[in-house]
Symmetry: C2
Subunit: 407 residues, 2 copies
Amino acid sequence: MPLQDDMQIVSVDDHLIEHPRVFSDRLAAKFQDEGPRIIEDEQGRHLWTFEGEIFPYIGLNAVAGKKPEEVGMEPLRFDDMIPGCYDPVARVKDMDVDGVQAAACFPSFPGFGGRVFFNSKNKELGLASLQAWNDFSIDEWCGTDPSRFVPLAILPLWDIDLAVAELKRVAAKGARLVSFPDNPSPLGLPGFSSDHWGPLWDVFEETGIVVSLHFGSGSFVPGFHASAKALRPNFQGEQFKSVSARMGGNADAADDEVPSIATFVVYATNLMWSAVELVFSGQLQKHPRLKFMLAEGGIGWFPYIMERLDLMWERHRHYQPIDFHTRPTDLFKKHFWGCFINDDFGIRNRHEIGIDRITVEIDYPHVDCNWPNSRKVLSESFLDVPDEDVRKMVELNAREVLNFPRV
Amino acid sequence: MPLQDDMQIVSVDDHLIEHPRVFSDRLAAKFQDEGPRIIEDEQGRHLWTFEGEIFPYIGLNAVAGKKPEEVGMEPLRFDDMIPGCYDPVARVKDMDVDGVQAAACFPSFPGFGGRVFFNSKNKELGLASLQAWNDFSIDEWCGTDPSRFVPLAILPLWDIDLAVAELKRVAAKGARLVSFPDNPSPLGLPGFSSDHWGPLWDVFEETGIVVSLHFGSGSFVPGFHASAKALRPNFQGEQFKSVSARMGGNADAADDEVPSIATFVVYATNLMWSAVELVFSGQLQKHPRLKFMLAEGGIGWFPYIMERLDLMWERHRHYQPIDFHTRPTDLFKKHFWGCFINDDFGIRNRHEIGIDRITVEIDYPHVDCNWPNSRKVLSESFLDVPDEDVRKMVELNAREVLNFPRV
């Protein structure tokens, strides 16, 4: 049966666009100049500036409500977006139109996992800005209607003690979800296998807060973009130049650039790596109550990867520095939740994935969301699915793992 | 029904270990010193040397016939391997034991896609060595029993004219399969989207030779290994050192090293990228008869990626520099063949994948092969599969795409 009227959609992955006063309303006077603020350039574009640097897109990919032919063009001013992008009151109305009851909203300007503050030159300012974002997220955005928004926070990962303290602080304010880099290694942080993160995992376990790994939050770009000239020492330079010339291109530009749609298709590969690395990290045995969500990763690949996890473990564990006794799919099924926007193959294989581990995301206001037709699109995907399964996927699983009960 | 006795297994991905005289038997006198040859070091280990460099493993991962507790240890001498690794007469006997009728065998010392010759300092020597390998592969190895070995070659990709000439040369000698880097970009070559490869694709189309993209042949290592200290500028150095110290590790070694088993599990992600990049490259429309095999990539992920290909195309093609009219899954289903060693989820979903696009691999003598039980293991995987489907997957599809008829 399709989606029933009494089923409430809880989205585990939406996005908010920070309005111009998010930081200036909260930062101390000494940080007002260097802290994040909006400026307008000569062409009338709104830009974030932080520590003297310019961040060119105020709402990367915030295109909800645009016509198809406009999609792909970034909003250049706040009045180039619908208010639901940056105004929580308008957002609730847009969720009503879309038939969505609750949503967890990720950061935009700071990066999905807080990368901009991680890269701050003045880490005192970086921490203050990050805390300002968390206060905005939990108090102002979610506070607008606590029954409609799942409180989400980011952490100062450059210092484990600060990260632990901030996690405790946001837990006390009601955080249910933390956006963590999908892979800390490319950011220069210790990887998932390191004991470094243990004190933080302890607090996640104590508080029950979910760790969400969103595609792109680890700043790793899939390998097929590595076609820069710097990588071509063994290739004959004259030939390469003539290729570029033949294509009518700039001599410094490769003619083999991969269109970004290819990256969209393989989003999930980063999260496959994250999950597999965590499964073999040894950390899940030390932190049995840790909960990970794989945001914007789809679910149709879960059975393939699970089969390979066990197959490789059965074959290779004898000589690998990994747990000899715990079956990797037991760890995977226990610790990981997936979500999807559209994934009919995944829905058909929901019982191989684990019906209790599937949630949905809306991805408002990004280009892949189905707004204002999310409920309609999901309903069509569920035509052959029993009510009991649908209810778990769209609502109950998310409410349970996020500790976000129906009011 | 399980595998029937009259079904012949044709493996599209096995490996040969070059014996010590492969190059010395064929190279001109002036190249004998610098060309590839086997030396024995003070510990009695056999090593390849080429252009003054040492290559430490003669048969990476050539462990067929070893006990489980020995697996993972590389063979250090030829007499540390079973003869089937490097002797085609013994290989045929091992294939008989395993119930395998025919096999395509990839290079070992040169790298799956010929990387070692691509990196040669003296490209004249590199070309001579590469041609020696092809002559060995086609004339000596496959020539031992042409009904049992599918002729496979590698190409001098550093020069498109040489590559075209070598492809024509090996085509005339009967090559059916060429091992091409699964992604040329990380090698410093133009990517799949470049017109650079057009003249080579033309010859592949004319000759009907299949392009095999084997995991690892593009030398790209999945991103989660990027945990080198060089990547840690924003992480506090003192903390990182103390982490290493606490773990009892070397100060220069990360405590977060990912065990290689994690890479084994996500092998296929590289090939997902390769296929998706090719689908959006524009080259398949220009070369409608090109045929790609994804070697050691499994098949269980095909439906998930195909669904995403079309979904992203329907949504994003309006503003992307891609073909507006051709549905990507039509290109995918037309141009790509998959194979598996073990992939029960893929077998269950064989009709969503495309029953005509599935083949099998044995992967002898590598650690993931089921030798000497390949036929038994496959038979168990096919218990619920109709004979007609099994016959296509284990034999008919490979014979047709490789133009390798039953004798």
